[in-house]
Subunit: 365 residues, 4 copies
């Protein structure tokens, strides 16, 4: 099931950018969770295009409908079907995409894989598909608010070369910190520079990428299912399953490879009545299993492939062609990707929580 | 099934570092593949400890037995069970590990998750578990030698700050290029420096990490199952499921995030009668699906957690303790991890090849 | 994913009897299949309540919407989302079900399992859920019409003690044969008796059960994945996953256990240039794999649990209560279950076809 | 993974009849379970050939080795690998099977599916494969002895037409009741008749089939995952995945289809402080979920396909041939299948217990 994610708490997304609707089915949600649209809509609004001058002006109300699995305000343990109608479909705007493969998009590979494709707005490969992920992630987040509580906070830590300075990124930011600027970087000076950069490249019809950091605190020790379903392995898969991502690193990541073992190891210390680590280069996970420390990871997003410049390409017959950028364009996907990263992290944590309990908390000997 | 990987071509590993044996079951292998021990043993020998002065001197013959699934020299389509006996078990050497959690190892998290653990040599969290992965990967590689052929080549591209220079890493290296030095870096000058560094840190009882690059050529366009089972997502999961890995990047990776879209996009061009790209910052995958170009990715390995220095830790009761490093020690895991990375890449490609065909090549309308 | 079925061609149903809608997502459908509503609606109409005096008078238009996965009249290989709105919801009619557990229904077990339930019309446990299965099955049937072709024909072979006589059930019935009477028994005399019986028990507020036979011809040899995913094992699971089923038998079934081996074995003979069997007590499957002969099996359906008679039960507090049957009532579910059985059989065959090909038809050595 | 069963408590069997060994890997076993060979060997001995004059005289010691997942007498939560060497391999005795397809065996279908096969003793399709199931089932049974406790008892209820009389099968039989005769029928008079029948058909080189009943008590209400993974659906799949099975019925089964709803429904009554049913035609499962009453089901086993009589068949080129039965022969598989049925039932119950808990017992709102 290539369009499903999770083993026990499972989400299955469906829908194309310019079809009638996009949606998601959540199977395995625990029963009894209070849930209504107001739990889901806010994250959809954060993901929605047209929120600010920084992102695509595509207009979508993105009002979500709950079609099943909730009765009298509580989840029933049966599949939760969520649907969002596509409103602002402008198929005509995409006629050029039928005839020419957009560079670094999925047009060519979908055409080659399936032999045909819905070219309108990228069809299934459009980031619009992530609407369903965010809706499902909002449910997972609500579960985590009861459990622990676990808090998940993603934010833009770098746009091109503009990064939050070392040492300025220590405290766990609040949602308000993140939402205070449209670029969703909690460091105001850096955010201001990022915004200027994005406006600049937009004016030039160009685009930029960068890095989103995600931090998760409150995860109890024990989550993660080695040897293949290590917690960081499933986080890596979740993040690399997002459009435009090119890299993932957990804890010290690539930078940690410059250290020696004696510099890198996290010493264990007594901490608050239990065991903790003095440093946290492990990123809260050791041997694939959470250790109770904060989990943090970075995700690399490439510059948006859609640009308003002329580009060299080929047509479906393989003949050289020129693509002239037109239409709406998101010069930097990172701000809108922040709630998507949070959603995927929440899905991984909830699913692993349930898996861990199933093996370790049910039978006692 | 946390110890299984793959949807159709599935591998399930089992075994602890100091138990009687380690092994793997491969389910879903195509029938008719010529297979005997000589196809599997060479990669096990590359993974084996004690090959050179650079790696742990633990001695293991690692002779593999084929217990099922092969008849008269060919696979039968039934599960292939492979077993490697553990020979050099020195349980006494690990008594300290029973009483103290080794920093940045999985001792604490396994104990917390499961409530008990086989402490000897790390038990299930030991890299010895990867023996089964390498054995299964050898079968996958042999399949790929028939199909395409697809070639997979991993090598050490950086140890700490010692990296193959930019521009010196263009041609697809041969296996001989990689194997010519014990550090498995195909660039001789860099390899020599790496070897000196590893010997130096070993003498100091310390350890180093670095980066392995893996390149895959010959993969046809069309492999990868969006939206969740994107080819790079499954590669990321595969790599992050390996012990000691902290990061994964595909194509331009983290470095690509410094570019603008107009610099980063890969223009399509007619190529050899079909369609190719002028550059390959996508790393051979677009929209989660292979495009026929070379697939390449990097994997970050942290410095080995085992060091021969005194370290601060706690005991199972949470009391402060001091761990004094003893016994055998692998100052740099990267050379031995090269065949493991190749094995995981091969498993991903074969499984995706079969999945792609199942949906797209069976029924014609 | 308890609400998903199939490994490669996967269907996931969602929805409650009296929620806003029911639906299904089909993931893994081959691309290029011509598909529109007219392929799906006819089977939904066969499953629909209110078709005749024999079944429940609940009125549902059951008009299906295709929300994704189809572009310009062909499947695209992406998830196909199908939705049917619930029209004739009369929640007030079900108030008694909130307070009392209906005998031999799922009220008590859902309440116990999940701690709460949507009591209206049985909620998720209602046969209304099978709407999605039938819609997905129609797609599978269309695939099979191209492949082979494979034909699947289910029909009512017995209602209580009224059975098609031995020897009168040899030829493969046409769809017209089955549809000629509302009871969907292709043997006219038996059908007439069944209809009288059903009308009789309806008048008494009672219900009856019986047996549906399903026959599948045109399946090539080779489908079925031992040892656990034997073709008959997945058929058995598919059938026992339907509401009201109590038994499954393949080929000679329970009756065959009265024979000796020398009477039961199916001798191999040359047949039409290939190999066939002289008899077919195996039911077209040997060792879990199709052998090219007709596949046939029987499914037992219990008498409908809903009856218009007073029954003894308890309330959610466990106190004795009396349930007085009221509202709409289906005195015999078998006629409407015929297309459901066909749908499930089609889903099993298509999924196994793809699985078989994935392992056996992709790589050649 | 066609050779794996279960979602959380997963067993994967491997091995051929005349290969070096057969085995099983259990992934997902809860940690801390006391386990050694003495927990597993007794059921293997019950399954073992050569126990009595009623079954095949093939001699196998069937001594099981535990290769992983157990440390100092307790399971560790990691995969448990169990291995049984094949001892009594007489490959020469099977030369005829290479050239001729045995009627109603899997020779033809394996050959057709995979293009080649290990013909010796049926290879993978041999009942020898169930060794691994029984070994894994013994672990599941031990878990269930702690939980509940749940007791599982299977026994032969009918051989051909020789059945335990109606009304003589009420009390839950003890293991001693079942084991008191080699035919494993707890009703002594019926057992005696069965034994005579089996000896008679053996003398004639023929074989017989029959029915095994399995009863499970102590299962708490709530197990079962509708809509597809209903408890009875997974039991049906488990049973139809066994060699030689042709049918499954739960509760009133096929016989119940002769009743009216008013006769068939199980009235709810207060029972022991909770809720029970007055009758149990549902077989302990309603709506796919256990209701706390005893679960019981029947499994039909066809007469053994191997007979010592000349039979008509074809060779691999499709030419008519005559097969002359030779070698060892099991005139009735039912006695040896009793522990296999119990094992599969135990696997289903444990897996569902864990799945139920994962969704319903982990998060509280």
């Amino acid at each position: 099931m290539p369009n499903s994610f999770g083993k026990i708490f499972t989400v299955s997304t469906w829908g194309e950018s310019h079809g009638p609707a996009v949606g998601v089915v959540v199977d395995g949600c625990p029963p009894g969770l209070p849930l209504d649209i107001s739990d889901i809509q806010p994250d959809l609004d954060r993901r929605r295009p047209g929120q600010s001058a920084l992102v695509t002006p595509r207009k979508e109300a993105d009002g979500v409908e709950i079609l099943s699995g909730v009765f009298e305000g509580r989840t029933t343990g049966t599949p939760i079907s969520l649907l969002v109608r596509n409103a602002d479909a402008r198929p005509g705007a995409y006629d050029e995409m039928r005839e020419k493969f957009r560079p670094s998009h999925a047009d060519f590979t979908y055409q080659t894989k399936f032999g045909l494709r819905d070219h309108r707005g990228g069809g299934r490969s459009s980031a619009r598909e992530t609407t369903g992920r965010v809706a499902a992630g909002a449910i997972a987040k609500k579960i985590l608010a009861f459990a622990g509580p676990v808090e998940i906070r993603a934010y833009v830590t770098r746009v091109q070369d503009l990064a939050i300075p070392d040492g300025a990124d220590l405290a766990f930011p609040s949602l308000t910190d993140v939402e205070q600027t449209p670029v969703r970087c909690p460091h105001p000076e850096t955010a201001a520079a990022m915004i200027r950069r994005i406006e600049e490249v937009r004016a030039q019809g160009d685009s930029v990428g960068g890095v989103i950091r995600c931090r998760v605190r409150g995860v109890p020790p024990g989550l993660g299912e080695p040897v293949f379903d290590r917690l960081e392995a499933d986080l890596a898969k979740a993040m690399l399953s997002l459009p435009a991502t090119k890299g993932f690193e957990i804890g010290s990541g690539f930078a940690g490879t410059y250290l020696r073992g004696s510099e890198h190891n996290d010493a264990y210390v007594p901490k608050g009545g239990t065991v903790g680590t003095l440093t946290n280069r492990s990123g809260g996970i050791q041997g694939g299993i959470s250790n109770g420390e904060e989990i943090y990871f970075n995700v690399a997003f490439k510059p948006t492939a859609t640009i308003m410049k002329s580009q060299q390409t080929v047509d479906p017959e393989g003949r050289p062609a020129e693509l002239t950028g037109r239409g709406r364009h998101d010069p930097c996907v990172l701000p809108r990707a922040v709630p998507i990263v949070e959603a995927m992290a929440a899905l991984v944590v909830v699913d692993h929580w349930m898996r861990h309990a199933a093996q370790n908390k049910v039978f006692k000997f």
